[in-house]
Amino acid sequence: MRYFWLSLKAIFIKDIVTELRAKQVLPTMIVLGMLIVWVLRMASEAVLQSEAVIGPVALWIAFLFAGLLAQERSFATEQQQDCIYALLLAPVDEGTIYLAKLFVNIVLLSIFEIIIVPVVIVAFRLNINNWPALIGVLLLGNIAISSVGTLFSAIVQLSRARGALLSILVLVILMPMMIPATFALLLVFGAIPPEMAGTGALAFVGTLGSAVGYMIAFDAVFVVACWLLFGFAIKE
């Protein structure tokens, strides 16, 4: 057990240090995220009265596409100098490698979120009436994309169309989650007043609680499933 934590911590720190030194993915993610937000902002100039609706959508889109960049990095860095083999040769369980990389991706996406949320708030003139809920919903979305993305990143590492293939794999699995995720953000940003939740406003039914509950269930299922299947994905 202690050994598990030692290797997990070692791989996690190694990945964070290499990413911070390489300074490759994080700046690109942030710039991409900002560009997406501002492009959507420009495109929605004519319908600014619904900025409380477009804002959350813009946030998720920026989040998804920047998130994909982070996922691709997970195993791309292990490709140089065949480092992935060094990891596989070590007496480390493959599940431990998965968990370490999952945490790295969650951290990178969290840094991205800290920067991009204020940008979205400013761009779309949003008000937040429930900060803890916002943080919670974003974290759950973060875990969802990171769990699936880390697994699929290992799968596509040998493929030439790595980025594109990873995108379609991750996006198709995350598709169902986008409904409650967007619904939750609409509530948090006040596009749907809390008293109107569950009444079919903007064609959504359900409450913040049910949306968050769904996201928790989604995350739980996929973190466990991806962790268990990782060993099969990483082997040659």
């Binding site: 198709v172 699995i173 039914v205």
Partner: protein
Amino acid sequence: MRKILLFITLVLLLASTWMALTKGRIEGPSANPDSPVRNIIYAHVPSSICSLACFTVLFVTAIGYLARGNESWDHVASATAEAGIVFATVLNATGSIFSRAEWGPWWTASPRLISSAVLWFLYVVYLILRSSLPGSKKRRARVCAVFAIIAFLDVPMVLYTARFMEDIHKPSFTFDNLWQRGAFIMGIVSTMLLAAMLIWIKTDILKIKSRLEAE
């Protein structure tokens, strides 16, 4: 044996189609009672059942392959995915036509249509993954099995997420007579037989192809 089953399948398909369009014909919506569009349910529901059934088979073969490593599981998986996408396409097309005829738009965010769309996408992505993975056949089979399991876990997620959308378009129909019920059930049975036959034939083709490559 296969020829007999194929014959039975064909007969049942023709019989159910005949029954559906004649004795079991469903009346159109009140605005246009002569419209035959509601009969699309005889194609829609069996496609829905078959595409979900194929996905379940895909899941089982994925587990089978990861557990046993036997190439046959992978052949069945490949054949099932190809059959499944056919049914998923029919499902989406018929659902869309129904939506247009009943309520106006070709597509709305109603739970059923959302679920059908995601199912179709899952099949498409699986097939793209199958065709674009470099490396050995074993690796491809293993990776596709991993994706199939994740995708299958996504299906209940899809069904639950649809509940967040207001289902203002609840399709409701009851069977007026025995012919309709009979046509419906026969349609389901014959379509499932068709699916099984397609999978069986394609699996054999893949097995032969694999044996030829080995020689």
